[in-house]
């Protein structure tokens, strides 16, 4: 198990999420300007850029902010990220299965829930097989 990252990688990681937030903000601006909704463009940009800025400003004091910023700089933080991702996925699967059942009960064909469940199930199966071989 690797326990830490090279300083250069860690430095790059620190700016990946804020840069993505800024890019997403610019994306909102472009999309809403094309749709002739300047206020939504502004709101979208402020929310995304603001989120990135908050992460940059608070990540030194708050480990939660650091993790959200993508500072997975050691094994414990990687472990936290893995557990949070796994928990999030479990919730999403529960929602997808629930959505599928409700969709069937309402007389629909279960789309798109069935597709999400199928992708999740296939990915889980393939991942288990891959990681079991990899050890």
């Amino acid at each position: 198990m690797t326990t830490d990252h090279a300083p250069d990688t860690a430095r790059r990681q620190r700016w990946l999420v804020p840069a993505f937030c800024l890019l997403a903000g610019v994306g909102y601006v472009v999309i809403f300007l094309i749709r002739h909704e300047p206020w939504m463009a502004l709101i979208g940009f402020v929310i995304m850029a603001g989120y990135g800025l908050v992460l940059v400003l608070t990540s030194r004091r708050s480990e939660t902010a650091a993790l959200l910023r993508g500072e997975l700089t050691d094994e414990r933080r990687l472990d936290i990220n893995r557990r949070a991702s796994s928990f999030t996925l479990n919730v999403l699967i529960l929602v997808a299965v629930g959505g599928f059942v409700i969709s069937l009960l309402q007389g629909h064909d279960g789309n798109p829930w069935i597709l999400i469940c199928a992708v999740a199930g296939t990915t889980y199966l393939a991942s288990i097989a891959y990681f079991a071989r990899r050890g």
């Binding site: 198990m1 326990t3 830490d4 480990e63 700089t73 050691d74 094994e75 414990r76």
Partner: protein
Amino acid sequence: MSKELYIVRNDLRELRRAKGLSQETLGRVLGVSRQTINSIEQGRYDPSLPLALRITRYFGTTIEEVFHDDGPCA
């Protein structure tokens, strides 16, 4: 695998204080965050074998002298 919860105590805090190091400094030396050092000291996080080895090598000691297996939790 046993479902019993094992408690592994450690003397990291004592070793660090004996050297006059802060959690931040020790974290920097070992390549981990200050919060990770704090979590190990409080017994909330058990380090991986590579990190445990780095800790013991840094303090010039052995795994058994730093980490103590108290057996399954009652």
